[in-house]
Subunit: 207 residues, 2 copies
């Protein structure tokens, strides 16, 4: 890795750490450059301002996020349902990139041009991939008891909320969503929900 | 209602509308006062700055929110489980106050003094009330298949995410979380989950 790339990646890591606790709008370019130990001009040079920095942070989260889903779709050797396999992989991915996850899911709730573009591009693709994963399950004879839209809204709630609300989870429930042990336990509870709204494992699995 | 109170409430409504789309940090006092048609000094006079305004917005959401839970707890005449009754009431409450809901759940993911105080005060009380509602169910012989913490993390995900991610729900799924018709349909899907992780209605109810 050359120096230029190292500096750029360091600025991004610092920015995500700050966005994580203070939010994008609550963090100034000045704070980012001070924390990263570079001058303000360097940040502007690499990212063309704070908005460009947010854009790169969101891309840095959503690109590998969608890759995880795509890889899950192409992985034919799985033991369980295609949707549940992908959900496990996504939960593990978010645990490994928990700062990026909180920033991305929080910022996506705002309403401005960049977020609309991100939604149109990444979230539309995400929806498409989940639907393909469902189609694969349906092909295997698994049925879904909720409409695709409600199923995916709830799946999305289940797998993103603990990472978005990680502070509440830590302070109220004394669990650390950045810890692999949490994801291990949490995946089991998502499976309980999944089994109840599909016929993948039959009713006995949820009792 | 006297003029003073009307102005104060109008400023708050305007502020929530702006926070709803642009976030707390993305909105300036200047924009709020311009939109509300008052001068900057008036906003500062009523709320002692933007932070004071956020505090009042969060209080204006969480106080009645907790009242809904408390009322659900004291309502002995319910037909279904205490937790599920309360969940329905909370979903309806959020539909009616959907702008406040999105602002509150988004801001609570940030990490600063005010949010820590809000968590310590309101979310701790919320946890206590949900646990009391669970205790009432347990007394009636209903059992929970998840630990209280995981059960409540998932319940919270289910009932808050559609209101926090209302933009995604609208753009990707063409559903309007501000519409009572949405809550009616959504409550049914939460019930499906609820029935699967409790023994309130027996297994037949989820098939």
């Amino acid at each position: 890795m050359n120096g230029r790339r190292e500096t750029k990646s360091e600025v991004m890591t610092t920015a995500v750490d700050l966005f994580y606790t203070k939010g994008f709008h609550g963090t100034s370019i000045r704070e980012i450059s001070a924390s990263a130990g570079v001058n303000v001009g360097t940040v502007s040079y690499y990212f063309a301002g704070k908005k460009g920095l947010l854009e790169e942070c969101l891309i840095a989260f959503f690109e590998p996020y969608l890759n995880v889903l795509e890889k899950s779709l192409n992985d034919g050797k799985r033991q369980k349902s295609a949707v549940m396999s992908a959900a496990c992989n996504i939960i593990r991915f978010q645990q490994q990139h928990h700062r990026f996850a909180r920033v991305a899911w929080r910022e996506i709730t705002l309403d401005h041009q960049l977020i609309r573009e991100m939604t149109a591009c990444y979230l539309r693709k995400e929806r498409y991939l989940w639907k393909m994963l469902m189609a694969e399950d349906i092909e295997k004879g698994h049925s879904f008891k909720l409409s695709p839209s409600f199923f995916l809204i709830q799946l999305n709630s289940m797998i993103t909320t603990p990472f978005l609300q990680s502070q509440t989870v830590r302070e109220l429930w004394h669990m650390n969503t950045a810890d692999p042990y949490f994801t291990k336990q949490y995946i089991e509870t998502v499976e309980t929900w999944f089994n109840s709204v599909t016929s993948c494992y039959g009713l006995s699995a949820i009792s």
